[in-house]
């Protein structure tokens, strides 16, 4: 089943199509990874899925309805987003930032309810940020800051969470910290997660469903074992690669063949 999907969606900026007529399904309750070379339209697709971009043709459909026909506040109660470059207001504390995730649930004259407070505390707890809740976001480490933003999206309390490169700019330990967090959120709270990632091995380890894109089209979609084959990886990324089972998890890992100086 999938609540969120695209139907022959052509998506782009101005009159430049970047994604050319794709049909994408986001399986409910699973982690979906969107992978592909730079400029293939991964982030463009993600932005359209969360209605930041309107398809030039075709549509993005949420629960059977065109997402742009649903009031934006209602969409915000169903889909949360971690953008690529969010801006933390100067001096904001972790808890205040997380509280802003409650925006779509608030009403004008009754801004803060007990359920808001509960959602914020639980988001802080899930991201292990409870001890840091009074810290100023600007002063956190990169990994902590990313967790704070994820906590904000969590407090939004949406069944679907979309993340645009949640691990980029983080060191390896913080990358896995974020991925483990997403894994827990999916396992324990059965949230549907869609993430754009660059690292294929991480996508293979953490995702149930992989969408591989190339030049604005979906080159392959399915479970990691079906998508990360030597044939598909070399087609999508223009690179000769060998695929082995990950010695720890058994999921595919992609190793460029040819050695230094000869990867292409």
């Amino acid at each position: 089943m999938s609540r969120l999907e695209t139907r022959k969606a052509v998506i782009g900026y101005g009159d430049q199509p970047i994604v050319r007529g794709v049909d994408v399904h986001v399986p409910d309750g699973k982690i979906t990874a969107i992978v592909g070379p730079n400029g293939c339209g991964k982030s463009t697709l993600l932005r359209a899925l969360v209605r930041l971009l309107t398809p030039m043709e075709g549509s993005v459909v949420l629960d059977g309805e065109d997402i742009h026909r649903i009031p934006t506040k209602n969409v915000a109660q169903m889909i949360g987003l971690l953008p690529q470059a969010p801006i933390a207001p100067a001096g904001i504390t972790v808890k205040e930032l997380v509280a802003r995730g409650r925006t779509p649930h608030q009403k004008l004259l009754r801004p803060w309810s007990d359920s808001d407070e509960t959602a914020v505390l639980s988001a802080l707890h899930s991201t292990n940020l409870t001890p840091l809740q009074e810290s100023v976001v600007d002063e956190l480490s990169g990994g902590q800051r990313q967790r704070a933003w994820i906590a904000m999206a969590l407090a939004q309390d949406t069944p679907l969470m979309l993340l645009d490169e949640p691990t980029t700019y983080l060191d390896i330990s913080h990358q896995y910290e974020v991925l483990d967090l997403l894994h827990r959120l999916n396992e324990r709270q059965s949230r549907t997660i869609v993430m754009v990632v660059h690292d294929l091995d991480q996508a293979a380890r953490y995702a149930h469903h992989v969408i591989a894109m190339r030049e604005g089209e979906v080159a392959a979609a399915g479970p990691p074992a079906e998508v990360f084959t030597e044939k598909i990886v070399s087609e999508v990324f223009d690179i000769d690669a060998r695929v082995f089972p990950d010695p720890v998890t058994g999921t595919p890992i992609v190793v460029p063949s040819g050695g230094p100086g000869h990867t292409q």
Partner: protein
């Protein structure tokens, strides 16, 4: 989140921001009493207050307090508040402390609109002048957007364009002055200096009416404003109508600055300083509109009182006074940014 509940309504606010707001309100009320009671004529403390709320205390108190001090103080408070809110909105929308209506040509555009209106109508009605100022301010804002638009808005380009438009607007104002007859030109010149001297209840009414219409609209979008500070994508994902809220808030900000300009003439630096100073004092995240309004009012009323207390030969209009006090702040901002700090 520290929140505050008053009756059925909840106000989510930073506790420190709330305390700062209360302190500013106290300061404003004290200054108001001072403005009503202290002056060249000695009316007496209680008589001044009675006269201010319309209880007759006989001559000359009724006139001096009821027709001179009270309307002047209230006009000053309202204009200061309007400038504070206007600046807070612009600075928040552009994420740049240099964006204030007096700095980016909006007040200058409103000034041109007002002077043109004075010329065409011989300055008969403040309401008409205010409408002219609104048209001038909106025109300046529209030109600024149109000229700085290159597939989006970069705040610095917007501000530099605004400064340029300000110069053009001032030239247009000067030219209009040369076309006016001497009497009207004199009145317009006195107005252009930025002064609360001679404020009447009509000035109070115009300022209060504009605030009464715009402030609820602005507060309605205050949450959108704070959310947009996290970037358009985040705000949209949180269910904010970003383009619509931004347009409404920008127009409200321009109209506030234009109306303030129509009422007292251009008064500089309040819109620049008040929101930035509030952010510094509250140390809270994001824009705080009501404290910015209160501080704008406090600053302008204090400046107005200070300029009145000067010896007669040194008295100058409050617009000049705020420039004398505000210019060093601007220089400090520039100095700090040149040393690598955030502008």
């Amino acid at each position: 989140m520290r929140s505050l509940r008053i009756g059925p309504f909840g106000i989510t606010t930073h506790r420190r921001t709330f305390v700062v707001g209360l302190v500013l309100l106290g300061a404003l009320l004290s200054l108001l009493v001072f403005a009503l009671v202290v002056g060249k004529a000695n009316i007496g403390f209680l008589d001044s207050l009675r006269a201010a709320i319309g209880i007759s205390v006989g001559s000359p108190g009724d006139f001096i307090v009821g027709q001179v001090r009270a309307p002047r103080a209230l006009t000053t408070i309202l204009v200061g508040g309007m400038l504070g809110v206007s600046g807070a909105i612009l600075q928040s929308l552009t994420r740049n402390p240099l964006a204030s209506p007096d700095f980016i040509g909006i007040s200058a555009g409103a000034g041109t609109g007002a002077v043109l209106t004075m010329w065409l109508t011989s300055g008969t009605s403040l309401w008409v002048t205010a409408a002219g100022a609104a048209v001038g301010g909106l025109t300046a804002a529209f030109l600024m957007l149109a000229l700085s638009w290159r597939r989006g808005i970069v705040p610095l380009r917007l501000i530099l364009t605004g400064i340029g438009i300000g110069f053009v607007a001032q030239a247009a104002t000067q030219y209009t002055l040369t076309r006016m007859d001497v009497h009207d030109a004199g009145a317009a010149l006195a107005w252009l200096v930025g002064s609360t001297t001679g404020s009447t209840w009509t000035h109070v009414t115009v300022a209060a009416a504009v605030l009464a219409v715009l402030l609820p609209i602005i507060l309605w979008h205050a949450r959108a404003l704070r959310t947009m500070e996290m970037g358009d994508d985040t705000a949209k994902a949180l269910g904010i109508h970003v383009s619509r809220s931004r347009a409404i808030l920008a127009v409200c900000s321009v109209l506030l600055a234009a109306a303030a300009t129509a009422v007292t003439g251009p008064i500089g630096f309040i819109a620049l300083v008040a929101p930035a100073l509030v952010a510094r004092i509250t140390r809270g995240p994001g824009v705080t509109l009501i404290p910015a309004a209160l501080l704008g009012a406090v600053l302008l009323l204090a400046a107005d009182q200070a300029s009145q207390l000067m010896p007669a030969t040194l008295q100058f209009p409050v617009g000049i006074f705020t420039a004398v006090v505000g210019a060093p702040y601007l220089l400090w901002l520039v100095w700090r940014s040149s040393r690598g700090g955030p502008v």
